[in-house]
Subunit: 242 residues, 2 copies
């Protein structure tokens, strides 16, 4: 039986790759992925063939990986962060039954929520919700509904895809909505290029986040009512007696 | 300046440890942690001293680590999964200002949500909420409020700490509440002992989850209205055209 590994390589540099992911990458005869993620690891595997696709060709990328595996190669589909959080794992699982000879194994990784949280301090040490602000596949109405529900129940929020070239102003709209539920002084954070060139972490208030210029490499954190700044870090206390 | 690494070792075996975590563990002169997590790595570092505390001594454990670092040791505080998700990162950040000579670095890891998701398939490929069912530090009222909000807004739910010796019946209460918002046929999953001896993954319906016997090593996933079983896996489609 041939094999397709769906490999989470973590948010950025080598330090965020698990030993399991490294082992799978080494074992693969072919690596498939979006050029940004392949670029993060290509230098370490100079002798392996890579198949690169652009960002909006997700289904094509997964089929390409499944087809190569069906043809007998051990294939690695390379995903940034964790393949199961807004990554390719879902699509591969949906398509896999068409390729019964291919055994699929998903290798989890450090996702931007936890990688980014570690840079800011500890914003996610209590209940949190992850919401993508991309309305490419989800209606803005559904996104708003989830933001409202999470804000109302005092979840910490981790926002994926807060902006892109085509979606300027989405983070602003989300913040304006959240300001209906949370004080303008709510502690927020943004990280950019986690563990990559241009890495940046900034703590700010929700009032400031409204005007923050996020891009495709940004992950945003909105604190709950307990989140505060301690020693320069964004911290959501779990409630332990100190 | 002395150093305290707060190290996420992933959910179980060596495959889930990042290269960064491995590097930090090797650099440390002393490793501090709850016995369960220290047990997962102790065999690999036979020459390092370990300081082990029991489960309910979280603040003491963090102070012990900070004090050893303040005394000049390079210390690693070892956390299962990711230190920032229901882990020790928050407490360390809260206490760190009392130890100004200690530089704290948080090393993220694979948390049970993503590690468990990979075993089940891809339950978290759309917006999700993480909720701990432990009412040791959070009122059951707050937990219920969050479960209701997440269910109402059609988040996938990942439930941490669904049960313990002292908290039998909590998962049942949570499921009964969720059945007010989701059909009994909603696809759910439970994983136990991720990447450890006794590893187990089971897909079931919400109606079946009510009677599921979870323990302290279990992580539970409740699908949204789109989650389904595909080829034996639990999958929440992101919405890509296949």
């Amino acid at each position: 039986m041939s094999k397709l590994y769906v490999i989470g390589i973590g948010p950025g540099d080598e330090a965020g790759i698990t030993l399991g992911a490294q082992r799978a990458l080494e074992e693969c005869g072919v690596l498939v992925g979006y050029h940004k993620y392949i670029g993060l690891i290509a230098g370490r595997y100079p002798d392996k063939p890579f198949l690169i696709t652009s960002m909006t060709q997700e289904a094509q990328r997964c089929r390409m990986a499944l087809e190569r595996a069906a043809a007998g190669d051990t294939v690695g589909l390379v995903c940034g962060g964790d393949p199961g959080v807004y990554g390719m794992a879902g699509l591969v699982c949906e398509l896999a039954p068409e390729y019964p000879g291919v055994q699929v194994e998903i290798i989890p990784g450090v996702t931007a929520a936890t990688g980014g949280a570690a840079m800011l301090g500890a914003p996610l040490t209590h209940d949190f919700a992850a919401v993508s602000l991309s309305d490419r596949l989800t209606s803005w109405q559904t996104i708003e509904k989830r933001l409202r529900a999470a804000a109302e129940a005092d979840f910490v929020l981790c926002l994926y895809n807060p902006a892109s070239h085509a979606r300027a102003g989405y983070l602003k709209r989300a913040c304006e909505l959240l300001l209906g539920y949370r004080a303008a002084g709510t502690v927020c954070g943004a990280v950019r290029n986690i563990a990559r060139v241009g890495e940046e972490a900034r703590i700010m208030t929700l009032g400031e986040l409204v005007e923050f210029d996020a891009d495709m490499s940004t992950t945003v954190f909105v604190g709950n009512t307990q989140t505060r700044v301690v020693g320069g870090r964004m911290v959501t206390p779990r409630g332990y007696a100190l």
